[in-house]
Symmetry: D2
Subunit: 334 residues, 4 copies
């Protein structure tokens, strides 16, 4: 691995551990240090991955480090990214780039033409199933795409304490579906309407948020898209898509934890779907890191960066506005 | 069959043939005559079913005839039904009772407390799959119901000439889903929002109608429901439902024309779903007629009558209004 | 139904009731009488079906009766059939024609060129799934057929008292699979090997029979076929087939009682398969009777008659011999 | 990886590459050298994996090397294993240990109580699906196991030149199923019967081998097992199992390359199954190597070693004998 670029991980929490382990296990990266505001968190992960603990300034000042993986708490993403880009580091940033669309747009210049490559981690685009779906729609396998259904149901709600810092259901959770919708529709939605309820946990309502939503998007061409979200499914981590075209449909189903089926008088019980995102999207996290290696190698531009972040965030903002006003929201031209 | 009640069929078109054949094949009815404005149509069906041709007045005046099956063109349903009820005949009426909600309500008194039993044929309630779904939701098998998805996609659009007389997508087609939504949600929706496009056939747009729609319903309790409709699926007659609750979900899938799967290097090809409503809902048409036999025997009240017709039609009106205004529509208390 | 041929049902037990109800419900038959050795059994079914009770001699002597449906106990099938044919009646005989291959062959002349049409009810050939499978194999959809798997698993064993009169697992139960194998392989098997155990109920062993078997057939061309039988599956009435060819495979799966799936943390529970043959093969019983109507009308020869009975019985005999000798059995040229 | 045991790979062909890459990618091994009779093959793989090329004697003489991974051509497995064990190296040996059962038994003493741990790579035991199946049968989830079906169908036949060196279908191919049968039945089969044909490629027959087989096993308890093998399925790499018990069944299905389904008027096309063993069993190859790390660490005994090799090979011998004699073969007590 002598030739692999040196990288540092900034943020050693849940997603930092995912990306850190993948980087350490990949021959295409030389993970040299872990940064985290909590010294113990940094030390534990650094020990596991066989690398050093470092400070953020130290990392950004180190000319041998080519890139940083940013997985800090969401509210700090943008500051860390801007500092890293300014220091000339290529950046892999856990989504979203920022919860505040206005702030993002205020940095449009630095972020849309950054001094070093910027990849924003919309990992679902790297899931083998979604990745297979996109070209098949584009190739006209089902004729012209007419409507799209995206289903993202979490197995269980987050702890209530997370809600106030989350940005709300649309910025925190639906953001993946907004990116998927833009990508698969291949057209920026022109209008959005959303209805949402709090049915899962009253603490979520008390924090001013919702947990169950249906969002409808309409494109100028007439294409329609429905997004179905809930914070608690009761049956696992449900991630499906349905693309309806003029000549047929393609449905993307859930992966199951095994291919076993138990047949009894009660019926045929197929194995459960994955219980959470870690298992469901393990391959996508590895694949997006591999994509980032391509970006570092100069063989691919980042698939998702500033424009995609703004595009998805604009839909999240619109959803929040639709809920607040009870009316459909017209989206500005991108 | 000596004791079976004598019934007459009024309307020998597509649905009249379905109900007429089922009545002739059931030991619980003695189908004695067929009425149709077109003498040849009436004669052909009467010959096939081994019964007489008659006029409507003759049938209504015949004291030995206990009931009529009304399957005339939609615009005449209400007049025929009112005349038949006035003549003391029990009535089985193909849905909808009328396309005009105002007209329906104007006859609320006669229709909600009719002098003879009135059954309005929302046949999907008698489909074995939907019929199995309802009690399982009601029994709490998935906890509290939180959201519902109803999918009704036609295989191919009707001839353009049908559109102007159809009442439009919502009154003609979505009406079944509106009834299903009310039945399965077990709560009258409080608000409705709809977006629709014309993507299938420009002739439909030229006739002032739409062919592809997504409709969202919201109940006072917060329950959400999405209805997905298209006039042309490209893959058959798609009739599905998804009920999401606090403890899991129940999904109602499509029946297939056989259980064969062909395995090749391209994948595993399961048999097609039914190509149209006749095959898909054959069992439901028989079952609803059997229900009507129970109604005639006095052992069951009609499962769907005036109130259900008004409830479903009110949602269809609201959908049309939502499209016209681009805004959600609040539904009056039932 | 004035022109439908008059038929009589001989035998009003379990299968007699199935065929009697289907005949009474079909416009292509005029079921006029029911015969059964037990007067009460005959009377009950005759009352239900609205026809007369009669004696067998009376029926065979009645020149207005065109055909008889024979569903007596198996040991009497052949005598009744021979008498009916001698009386010039067309015969629909529940399978098997006789349990004793030698006896069957002794009547080869009368049975293979009978004075009136003889149909032996191998109903699985009329099941919509198996009926769809056959022409697809024949059309070369999977290239040349190379091997075949047939699975017939009963939900629960019969009462032990039935076993001694049954003819044993192979003549009573596997006989359907032997007929299927001959039909689908489109080649008379040249050799057979069987192993069987008694694992379900020791009373079956005490009666000298087995309840769990695997039978292998080999054709002169090298085609192989495995038959899997058990008297008790624990999960319903399992009826599947797998056809493997040079270019792929076709699998025939089980029908389920509904299309509902329940999704919980335990997995996705599909509805049970049918609990027994009556529900599973209801359509095939109607279809074979319809075929018999065609036979009576002279528009089709009987699909299965003496030759097919002898062919299937020869395999049953060979299976019994293989179990007895512990060795493969070579089949005589047909 | 400073503490990981040093290992060498002997054999850099197809399976050697699989195991070598897994060892190089695992933090639990320090792969230091690659041995292969063909210098270029060794050099290419060593370069890829960042380790040295070495000779076998050199490796066995190196006291710092704790273990060897043996993936040479089958005919040399046993000699290499015996030499490595004699040198005190722990051994991971690609299956089978040897094609000749007599030779294996001649070395029973050294192999059954080896001086260093010996693991023989029956990788299917480490597939997540098969690994989930075993404990569920053992836990009585389907009551007492009564019969078992194992299906292993290759996508396409090997080059004809491979056949004469392969040991034949049973020793080369069915060997995995024989191990599975022994493991899942949890009882050494008492008798075996096999029929096989050459239907795929006449060159296989010309080489004295068969390509399509059905093998039946019978245990003393009466349990039955059928193995279905073909060298060419026409639809991918088919690896299924069906376990039938007194209270139900568990079916192990094929993994598919994605969860996409395409719906058209032709039906619903699910994604293909894996095209070959590399993709299908990738996880099992990693898992068995991880198991070998446990063996080296002293935390687990080898799951499969000499006894399992002899057990599976004895069934392969019996199958070959059954084909030769046309009769069932009784197996010696293990």
């Amino acid at each position: 691995m002598g030739n692999a670029p040196k990288v540092a991980l900034i943020g050693a929490g849940r997603m930092g551990q995912v990306h850190g382990r993948n980087a350490a296990g990949s021959p295409r990266f030389d993970l040299v240090s872990v940064v985290d505001a909590h010294a113990e968190t940094a030390a534990a992960l650094a020990a596991e991955l066989g690398c050093a603990v470092a400070g953020q300034d130290e990392v950004l000042a180190d000319p041998t480090i080519a890139a940083v993986l940013v997985a800090t708490s969401t509210s700090t993403h943008l500051d860390v990214v801007l500092a890293a880009l300014a220091a000339g580091k290529a950046v892999f940033c856990e989504k979203p780039l920022d919860l505040d669309l206005g702030r993002l747009r205020a940095h449009a210049a630095e972020l849309s033409a950054p001094p070093a490559p910027l990849y924003v981690a919309f990992n679902k685009r790297f899931d083998p199933n979604f990745r297979a779906l996109k070209p098949r729609i584009a190739a006209g396998e089902i004729g012209a795409l007419e409507s799209l259904t995206l289903i993202s149901h979490d197995p269980a709600p987050p702890p209530p304490a997370f809600i106030p810092t989350s940005g709300g259901l649309f910025r925190d959770f639906s953001i993946h579906d907004f990116d998927m919708a833009r990508w698969l529709l291949d057209e920026q939605p022109a209008e959005l309407f959303a209805w949402a309820s709090c049915l899962v946990d009253p603490a979520i309502a008390a924090a001013g948020d919702v947990d169950t939503a249906r969002i409808v998007l309409r494109c100028a061409s007439g294409k329609l898209c429905v997004i179905s979200n809930t914070r608690r499914s009761g049956y696992g981590y449900d991630q499906r898509a349905e693309a309806y075209g003029s000549k047929g449909a393609i449905l993307l189903g859930d992966e199951r934890i095994s291919t076993l089926e138990t047949w009894t008088e009660a019926g045929a019980l197929a194995a459960p779907i994955h219980p959470g995102f870690q298992a469901r999207y393990a391959a996508s996290y590895r694949a997006e890191l591999d994509h980032f290696a391509d970006v570092l190698a100069g063989t691919a531009p980042p698939l998702t960066a500033y424009a995609e972040s703004v595009g998805a965030s604009a839909l999240a903002e619109a959803a929040a506005r639709s809920i607040a006003t009870g009316a459909p929201v017209r989206l500005a031209e991108a």
